[in-house]
């Protein structure tokens, strides 16, 4: 037996043993389902692309596009322990134009009493740096993620809001657009606008293929005034740069808890 062959045998044996013993099988759990419903609202009513609104700064607005990524969903039990939805099935793109995308069904949630939900608005840094093979489903830049990716500065757009307003410059055809992303950079540090939101609620039971429907109200009216004033007249087109961080501070705070109902 050559030296390298001995090494191979040794390596394989140790890997074999390692896989076998290092992880215990989970006790067989009953599992449940949690449904997240994203309701895009303006002044507490369902957002409608056909309607004209007025924001807190008195600017008339109509919206034409609203998309955002929801990822890295985590549920916290009453006792403080957490369950993270497996990474590979934890990326969702919510589009106002696609009603089905606003309802996210999370299967295989271990039974228990849960009292909080945590999610990222956007796509985490690590996934932003992964190879093309790890960008499937909601993250497929050649399909679902259409328009939600910066090609000149590799990275996903986390939150995209577009529309028209007389407050936006005429030479821009009165269009305003906010494309917010920035995962912190790969080889050098760049902007990081990854924002995470936690919503707490009265404990709800998940068991036996059942679980709650959690409504998340996304209050687009407050996009313009929640933390920082965003005036279309002053900033009608933001895609990168310091101000985009201010916008991310605003939008993270407009994801609020709505109804939590058991099925």
């Amino acid at each position: 037996m050559s030296k390298s062959m001995k090494f191979q045998v040794l390596l394989c044996c140790s890997v074999f043993l390692f896989c076998g013993f290092s992880r215990y099988e989970k006790p067989k759990n009953t599992e449940g389902t949690v449904i997240l419903k994203f309701n895009n609202l303006f002044n507490k009513e369902a957002l409608d692309f056909e309607k004209a609104y007025t924001n807190a700064h008195g600017e008339k607005v109509k919206f034409t596009l609203l998309n955002y990524f929801i990822s890295n969903i985590k549920l916290t039990k009453e006792d403080g322990s957490t369950y993270a939805v497996p990474q590979d099935s934890s990326y969702f793109l919510v589009k106002q134009s696609d009603p089905a995308s606003k309802e996210i069904t999370l299967n295989h949630i271990p039974s228990g009493k849960y009292s909080a939900l945590t999610f990222t608005i956007g796509v985490d840094s690590l996934r932003n740096t992964m190879g093309i093979g790890s960008r499937t489903g909601a993250l497929d830049v050649g399909a679902t993620a259409k328009g939600m990716y910066w090609v000149w500065n590799s990275g996903y757009i986390f939150f995209k809001l577009e529309g028209t307003s007389p407050a936006a410059p005429e030479k821009q055809k009165n269009v305003f657009n906010y494309h917010i992303g920035g995962f912190g950079g790969y080889r050098s540090k760049t902007m990081n606008n990854i924002k995470t939101r936690t919503l707490a609620f009265k404990p709800v039971v998940v068991s036996n293929r059942k679980g709650p429907v959690i409504d998340i109200n996304v209050e687009i009216d407050h996009f313009f005034d929640q933390v920082n004033p965003i005036k279309i007249a002053e900033k009608s087109s933001v895609m990168w740069g310091e101000f985009s961080t201010k916008i991310s501070e605003n939008y993270v705070s407009i994801f609020n808890l709505g109804n939590v109902s058991s099925k």
Binding site: S4, M5, F7, Q8, L11, C12, C13, V15, F16, C19, G20, F21, Y24, E25, T129, G131, I132, G133, R135, T136, D140, V141, G142, A143, K146, G147, Y149, V151, W152, N153, S154, G185, Y186, R187, S188, K189, T190, M191, W240, G241, E242
Partner: protein, 350 residues
């Protein structure tokens, strides 16, 4: 819990162990290269690109080549990658300062060569793209280049007569996906390796350089060109300012990506391989010939913000070079022309 009462885990363990055994065998035996048809030339470092996730195969390469020269990747079918990346000019846009794309629209930068990209850790003059596989979407979606939406390209190819068959050959099934599309293009671009210039032959002891070229080579090192254009790839892949007057186009380079003051005016140090044929020069193509470039280093370096320290060693910014020395360096730079690469039929459209 032990392995015995868990047959599923046993299976997984066996599979993993067997897999590792296979990999270690091939590594030990070097029977087939894990990179497929890609090989590292003598004297080159290990590539940056992870060929293990996308080994170059003949069918993958051929598919990538077809895509590279296919106008269907653009909105109106007129502009292919090859339009701006011409082999005879080391895959640059011959003679154009700013590249011309769809409807004759002009971009804001000079097309870069596509050569030895397997060793590159960032793409674009400002390094905005960090993975070759993510690159092609950029020109496709750029309104002044190919002006198409990437998902539309995938749809077009799905519906085409020819492509599903070729995807099957390259990847096993007819499915056209973004991943496969991008990997095939990468396989073609990864194959564009230039390592057989007269200089390489000289290093291998197979050719001689003239006296002037030898003097140029010595000056290239003595005068510190190789601080930035370093090693066998003639770039250290860093971002630096070589003192070009910024007001020319207002392009701030790396700053556009990092928004860090200390990155203003910095651009990726370009390779100098095949430099003779990649004119015009610099990110905005401001110099038509190498004489212009050398005059810049000798006489034109501006004290812009973040000018590289390597160009601040003399009282006068830049690199002290007589006219004669400039000529010698140019003679040396021309030894980096790899005629085999520039004429290799394997890379060309037909």
């Amino acid at each position: 819990m032990t392995i015995k009462n868990n047959p599923k885990r046993l299976g997984v363990c066996l599979t993993i162990s067997f897999g590792i055994w296979l990999v270690s065998c091939t590594l030990a035996g070097k029977e087939t290269g894990p990179s497929g048809l890609f090989s590292v030339p003598e004297g080159f470092p290990e590539p940056v690109y992870n060929l293990a996730v996308n080994p170059v195969t003949e069918d993958g390469f051929q598919l990538g080549k077809k895509l590279f020269f296919d106008g269907r990747l653009s909105r109106d079918g007129t502009i292919s990658c090859g339009e701006c990346h011409n082999q005879a000019h080391s895959f640059t846009h011959h003679g154009h300062g700013f590249s011309h794309g769809i409807d004759g629209k002009e971009g804001f930068r000079n097309a870069q060569p596509i050569v030895n990209v397997a060793w590159q850790n960032s793409f674009f003059w400002d390094g905005g793209v960090f993975n070759l596989d993510l690159f092609a979407i950029a020109p496709i979606e750029n309104p002044v280049e190919m002006d198409e939406k990437f998902p539309n390209v995938i749809e077009k190819l799905k519906k085409s007569e020819d492509y599903p068959k070729l995807f099957k050959k390259a990847f096993g099934t007819e499915e056209v996906t973004s991943e496969r599309f991008l990997k095939a293009l990468s396989q073609y671009m990864l194959s564009l390796v230039s390592a057989n210039s007269r200089y390489d032959q000289y290093l291998a002891g197979k050719a001689r350089l003239t006296e002037t070229e030898m003097k140029g080579l010595a000056l290239f090192k003595e005068k510190g060109c190789n601080t930035c254009h370093s090693g066998i790839l003639f770039t250290d892949h860093s971002f630096r300012s070589n003192g070009l007057a910024a007001e020319y186009t207002g392009d701030l380079g790396r700053f556009r990506i990092t928004e860090n003051e200390s990155d203003k005016n910095k651009f990726k140090v370009p390779t100098l391989r095949n430099i003779e044929v990649t004119y015009p020069y610099m990110h905005d193509g401001r110099f038509r010939n190498l004489e212009g470039v050398l005059e810049h280093y000798a006489d034109g370096v501006q004290e812009v913000d973040n000018l590289d320290p390597a160009l601040k060693k003399n009282p006068k910014p830049g690199i002290a070079l007589t006219k004669e020395q400039q000529g010698q360096i140019i003679a040396f730079l021309k030894t980096l022309t790899d005629t085999e690469f520039l004429n290799n039929k394997r890379f060309s459209k037909f």
